[in-house]
């Protein structure tokens, strides 16, 4: 089951940028691309924990601010020669409101 929770409006997140939401599991980074698509992934780089929300966003990818690994915002998978992945979370855009599936991080707490 999904539990869609409103986390803010599209304009709250800068284009080609990100904002964080805090959860009991840690921070989740919510990205907005140049063409207004939104994605959510863990705000923790699998390399050495860099805050991915602080990276440069290009296309549907982000470059980690610490050592430049590049991740797909859609799949969470590291691109190029680097190996690793971050968790992704389902997001929905309803008009200009961003909704996240609260189940997705609640479930993980329970597990």
């Amino acid at each position: 089951m999904n539990d869609w929770v409103d986390i803010g409006c599209l304009e709250d997140v800068p284009r080609r940028g990100a904002r964080c939401i805090k959860t009991p599991l840690g921070k989740i980074a919510v990205f907005r691309t140049a063409d207004d698509k939104v994605f959510a992934i863990d705000d923790q780089c699998p390399h050495k924990g860099g805050p991915l929300s602080q990276g440069i966003v290009h296309g549907a990818q982000v470059t980690c601010p610490l050592h430049n690994w590049v991740f797909s915002l859609e799949t969470g998978v590291a691109q190029g020669a680097d190996e690793g992945a971050v968790r992704t979370y389902p997001l929905r855009l309803h008009q200009d409101r961003i909704l996240i599936d609260a189940q997705s991080f609640a479930a993980a707490t329970a597990a």
């Binding site: 709250d12 207004d36 290009h58 296309g59 797909s72 609260a102």
Partner: protein, 815 residues
Amino acid sequence: MAEKLVIIGAGMASGRMLEHLFEAEPGRYEVTLFGAEPRGNYNRIMLSPVLAGEKRYEDIVTHDADWYAANNVHCRFGQTVTKIDRQAKSVFADGVETPYDRLVIATGSAPFILPIPGKDLPGVRAFRDLDDVEAMVAVAGKPDAKAVVIGGGLLGLEAAAALRGRGMEVVVLHLAGHLMERQLDAAAGYLLRRELEGRGIKVHCKAQTKAILGTDRVEAVALDDGTIYPADLVVMAAGIRPETRLATDAGIEINRGIVVSDAMVTSDPDILALGECVEHKGAVYGLVAPLYDMAKVAAKTLTGAEAAFKPVQTATQLKVTGVSLYSAGDFAEADDREEIVLRDATAGVYKRVVLKDNRILGAVLYGDTADGSWFFDLLKRSTDIAPMRDTLIYGQSYGGGASADPLAAVAALPAEAEICGCNGVCKGTIANAITSKGLTSLDDVRAHTKASASCGSCTGLVEKLLMATLGDSYNPAAIQPMCPCTELGHDEVRRLIVAQELKSIPAVMQELGWKTSCGCAKCRPALNYYLVANWPGEYEDDGQSRFINERVHANIQKDGTYSVVPRMFGGLTTANELRAIADVADKFEVPTIKVTGGQRIDLLGIKKEDLPAVWADLNKAGMMSGAAYAKGLRTVKTCVGSDWCRFGTQDSTGLGVRIEKFMWGSWTPAKLKLAVSGCPRNCAEATCKDIGVICIDSGYEIHFGGAAGLDIKGTEVLCHAKTEDEAMEIIAALTQLYREQGRYLERIYKWAKRVGSDSIKANVVEDLAKRRQLFERFVYSQKFAQVDPWEERVNGRDAHEFAAMADFQMLQAAE
């Protein structure tokens, strides 16, 4: 007896519906048609050409008096329906009650009027109906009339172009970063802006309108940033909202629009709705194509036949004479999508097709839209384009299968085809020069024919011509491209930014043929720097193209916290400053306080959300950002010099402070660190700095190009200066030359090695006029650079950077 059908709204959708209805069952209904406008149905989308003076109202009428008479329609034009009584099954207009058996609501949209002071002043108009057009034309007729159009979408731009065509001075205010952001990506938005500006329309993006000013009628428009544009006419084209008021009052289900089923029936089975006022499966529509489909379905439903409306993809074209622009489908980027981009800078053409699994999802075309409908057709049919993938972007005419070999294309050009537009050199001239003079490189061609020697945008063509003429013996000098988004190197890009006066990142990407639509983490920061350095005061810094440290003005640490280093000019501080730092350290429980090698104090381990509060406290004590994070001026180290030291020859501390006060805030290709020592004992270690000064009895020895990092290198002496003023001028000129020539992330010593210290000395030391010009350019750019970024953020700028968007920690804890 015929059933009574009442229609509210004589617009495009209801007109089309009636046509279908009368065709299917001519006498079935007795129709009463209400229209708030004092006229019948007309083609609303043609109001733009009417405003432009290219068409008259009579040309765009779709249904005339004869037609209404022939079909027995009771016309109630000029009458606004004010109430629907669902119990009695009747509607009210001008106090008169009209009963219905079936009712159709087709009230279209209402323009969205910004809720700002002055919105009701005479002279403020929407762009929705003929009355609006007539009012605008009346103002445009006055001499020197000025218009401000709020909204740079489809409607606003059509109005702007039309009014400009009528001779008005026109400004377009647009909230987003580029025009028509819903339909266009940044590259196409840039081309459109360039075209409109070429016609004399001023475009102001990221404009927050604050108020409309005026006493008896509109006089000006004021923006949040303080800009004021005088105006005799303000056109509100900031969007539309489905006109749902009647339905709401009548208790019919509405959401964004009036909710309808597939058959166009509302929550009341006797009432249908169609057009822009409805919402179907969560979508509302603002273009006529889907409304015409609705009209067909509604007519069927009224005759009792079964029909269902299917959501459709829409394509957009801007109706401005001379502008070709086409956009369709979804062109957002995503991982499982690919894009094919074709740019022709000379012809001002941009085409981008977005694919997923070899099917077209979306297309944006600018400049050459001939293939728009072909792409749209492939999109709607979800055609597998794999077989023509290589040539797809060249359009339908290529579909025959001829391979898109760019060399073949150049080879096929006639000898008189112009290759270099700047210098008017044609293909024959270049090809002749290559064979007769034995030219083998681009530089040769430039030297002998001038082709590609000016703006350079034909470089690619010239190279292909070399290849085509010389075959395999042509061996282009390998230039290291900036990044995989382009084939151009840093120097080429910088040269072209200047030559073509490119002033934004989308402009660079378009004119220089970037292969991606949005760049990457390598090229974007570099382009941002080049634009900041070349167009001070004009280019608007793009924060999202900067690395995090420069975006939040602090250094990110390995655990995601930040370090804060306030500026201490020349390494001097005071008891007050130290007290303020100590207070900050207590208040924010700073875990580590460290003295840096740059003669100042570093507060480490600060949480991102605390940064603005930390800065506020430091600002209060008179301290500003030390830019310890910047590709820009970092520190000027000093020794105590002649003020205290028994060996001191000059006031090295004073000079260091003066230099730092003069140079702080400047952006450079890589970090820039200076030092001033009071005598050759060199306690400030000036001879391993980017720029160093050694004071001597006779003045100042200026050094440059040192390094003490991955590489170690002593400085080289640039020259000798007699006075502090002269030393300052030389240092600023040297920095400016480096700012203009250095490649992004190239330290001074690497730049000096690349260009040679002789050329640097020639510019900065020997040619006094050049030195002066460099100095003045530096001074000019400092006018815009010397803003303390901490203070800006304490005052609220980029507040979103420092706060979480939502917090679920408590929520979960409570469960």
